[in-house]
């Protein structure tokens, strides 16, 4: 299953988001996940992808940003190949949300 599919599954299951609204460039805030909601989504991401996130908050405005960030973590923390849209390595020191 791709990173996008696994992340979409979390969003549909836990946030009851209509799957047709899930697009890579769609802002997560429009789906009801603001910077506070992101704190919880990152918690689910850690569990689902078995990755460890940095202690500082991470700003991921869109679903695509989240997918690329997870793929970067997977590449850095696991030997397996990330499954994804564009395997971009996450920034070395993630910036804080505004």
């Amino acid at each position: 299953m791709t990173t996008l599919a696994r992340l979409s599954k979390i969003l549909v299951k836990n946030y009851k988001i209509d799957p047709t609204r899930l697009t890579l460039d769609g802002p997560l805030e429009e789906l009801g996940i603001d910077s506070l909601g992101m704190a919880e989504l990152l918690f689910f991401i850690e569990d689902e992808f078995k990755v460890q996130l940095p202690f500082d908050p991470v700003a991921l405005p869109t679903l695509g940003d989240a997918v690329r960030y997870i793929d970067g973590l997977l590449a850095a923390q696991h030997v397996i190949e990330p499954s994804t849209v564009a395997g971009v390595v996450p920034p070395a020191s993630p910036h804080r949300p505004a």
């Binding site: 836990n14 946030y15 009851k16 988001i17 789906l31 009801g32 996940i33 506070l36 909601g37 704190a39 919880e40 990152l42 918690f43 569990d47």
Partner: protein, 410 residues
């Protein structure tokens, strides 16, 4: 001083999720107390509770629901009902002159319980990110303020079982003195987690299960009473400056005319006749009422040995010979003890009883205790009774005794 009208009522209770349903069931004396069915119930000596039939999914979008402990869900939905009932136009109100006053004893206790389970039972460090904001005691009030853009005072009172009588009374004082035009006031509680039930059980205040019918296990003022049964829910009222309310032709459920809070300052759990009586007297004084003008009392009436005896003695001390004539209702027998939401729920029941000219029954009272010899309206409601003035008592661990007095709007 201004007069204060109650213009809106909202209820999420074990006896129903609307004022109408609550009142119909309270009048009929239908008990909401039952055996609870959870995997951990076998570890409880007496697995009883009064639960609310409530599903948060029906009231909130999923992303928001994830941030709401059950106590906040109850509070928000009850507040929506109250504001709708009042037909209160928040958009055109001066929202800095509106406040939120909420009572809760245990706040987000389910969330706290879940957190402990993760840490200590599961030996995991994966505490959920929303644990603080869901568990914090002022979350229910804060969410109500956010939902309606209310920028006046947003205050949470935690005085155990009198929390929401205190919150309504403190709101009343601010509307009365002109500081606020209106207040959303009441209480919410969701204490039916395993941890909370077990902790209450350890204190030996909970009722043992009636061997023939679990729903009758709470028996206020009865000779064979054995304690209280925990319940959950929320009750919220809209308090409004009387002139403002009449000017906009609001329906007025009653007038809140008196409130007092007097503290025992003697023992952390044991109630005192002196403290309870002083609170009733002070409320009568605040309301400028003679004791004889009280038509009925909604008692604190928990069904514990200590409370019911002390409350009866305190009522006698305040009302003298009139104590034997004033009907007293103890509705916790059927809706359970909602702790921080109890005072508000019983205040609402008092208003509804007055509006509908009904004396609510004290259920499961076959034989009263020798030292409980007043008229408790045993087992059957009385109809077509003219009620002008009601008193609602709420007493608490910690010794905070709060009393509210309301008068008919007619």
């Amino acid at each position: 001083m201004r007069r204060v009208a109650v213009t809106g009522i909202g209820v999420i209770s074990p006896l129903g999720c609307s004022a109408v349903e609550l009142f119909v069931n309270a009048t009929a004396g239908r008990s909401a107390i039952c055996r609870i069915d959870e995997p951990w119930c076998e570890r409880l000596v007496s697995p009883l509770a009064a639960c609310v039939n409530f599903n948060g999914d029906e009231h909130f979008e999923a992303p928001k629901l994830r941030m709401l402990d059950r106590v906040s869900q109850f509070a928000i939905v009850a507040a929506r009902q109250a504001i709708d009932d009042a037909r209160f136009d928040m958009a055109n109100a001066d929202r800095q002159r509106v406040g939120v006053f909420l009572g809760t004893g245990m706040g987000g206790s389910q969330t706290t319980d879940d957190g402990y389970k993760t840490l200590y039972a599961d030996q995991s460090n994966r505490i959920k990110p929303f644990t603080i904001l869901m568990g914090m005691t002022n979350a229910p009030a804060a969410w109500i303020g956010i939902e309606y853009g209310v920028t006046g005072p947003n205050l949470t009172y935690s005085t155990a079982c009198s929390s929401s009588a205190v919150s309504i009374g403190e709101a009343w004082m601010r509307v009365r003195n002109g500081e606020l035009d209106a207040a959303i006031a009441g209480g919410a509680e969701a204490p039916l987690s395993f941890g909370a039930l077990k902790a209450w059980e350890a204190l030996h205040t909970l009722a043992s299960e009636d061997p023939t019918d679990a729903s009758t296990s709470c028996k206020p003022f009865s000779k064979n009473r054995s304690g209280m049964v925990l319940g959950e829910g929320a009750a919220i009222v809209v308090l409004e400056d009387w002139e403002r309310a009449t000017k906009r032709s609001a329906t007025i459920h009653g007038e809140l005319i008196g409130y007092a809070v007097v503290t025992d300052a003697s023992h952390i759990t044991r109630p005192t006749v002196v403290g309870q009586a002083a609170a009733m007297r002070a409320a009568l004084q605040a309301a400028a009422c003679a004791p004889a003008s009280i038509d009925t009392i909604n008692a604190h009436g928990t069904g514990t040995q200590a409370n019911d005896t002390v409350e009866t003695a305190a009522i006698k001390q305040v009302f003298g010979a009139d104590a034997y004539r004033i009907p007293i209702s103890a509705t916790k027998a059927i809706h359970g003890h909602l702790l921080g939401a109890s005072g508000a729920l019983e205040f609402v029941l008092s208003l509804l009883a007055m509006q509908h000219k009904v004396l609510l029954p004290t259920m499961h009272l076959e034989l009263a205790s020798e030292d409980c010899d007043l008229d408790y309206v045993p087992n059957c409601a009385r109809h077509e009774v003219k009620i002008n003035t009601v008193m609602s008592n709420s007493f608490a661990f910690g010794g905070t005794n709060a009393v509210l007095i309301a008068r008919s709007a007619q």
